[in-house]
């Protein structure tokens, strides 16, 4: 029997206003070292974590948004963003970072990490997971 489990990290908080987003990233990166099958979901205010062009120079906090673009190197290639959450907030995929991973089975072809899903599609994804972490 395989020891690999499907881990899903569910992100529902905006960055900077609370520490949840930053803490989630810490846990995700640590978890990635254990070679589990990791997925991330960004729903509700969590979609704000992925906006591009974040510049925290004026608020004296660390800008941790560049870390998301490193997730592909940790073999985290499934990043689900909920369509309804984006739309409600007046955002589109164009407002988010373009996150990619390199597929070693296809000569390191660059592939999109973000999968835009509806709430019902996300429900199906959640149903297939073994472990859920909420931030």
């Amino acid at each position: 029997m395989s020891d690999t489990k499907k881990f899903m990290y569910i992100n529902r908080k905006a960055p900077y206003g609370t520490i949840y987003a930053w803490e989630a990233l810490e846990v995700i990166l640590i978890g990635a070292a254990f070679e589990q099958d990791v997925s991330l979901a960004f729903i509700d205010d969590g979609v704000y974590q992925l906006t591009k062009g974040q510049d925290t120079g004026g608020i004296g906090m660390k800008n941790f948004s560049p870390t998301y673009s490193a997730l592909g190197d940790y073999e985290i290639t499934k990043i689900y963003v909920e369509k309804e959450s984006l739309e409600e907030r007046g955002l589109t995929l164009d407002d988010l970072q373009h996150l990619v991973w390199e597929d070693e089975d296809e000569d390191w072809a660059e592939k999109d990490s973000i999968r835009l899903v509806s709430r019902s599609e996300l429900a199906d994804v959640l149903a297939t997971q073994d472990v859920l972490f909420n931030f």
Binding site: Q54, D55, G58, I59
Partner: protein, 98 residues
Amino acid sequence: MAMLHLVNKSPYDACSLDTASSIMKGDDSLLLIEDGVYAAVKSGKAAARLAGLKVSVLGPDLAARGIGEDKLIDGVTVVDYAGFVDMVEANDKVQSWL
């Protein structure tokens, strides 16, 4: 007697903007700070709450969150920290909707 209302929570996560916007009157102003700035994004569902109000947003908090000024609804003023202080000074009271 004008009051400055501060909202620092996302309108999609807390009801402080709803309460603040419905209690504002007369010459009152609203300043959106921290996660409150998301309310001013054009075509977001919360933008309707700001109709008819005098609204400012704190620029450094917008920039931190990657929300460009071109994404904001018309008529919203972007202020810096010095502008924040000016607004506090220009009003009789400050109500912070924590």
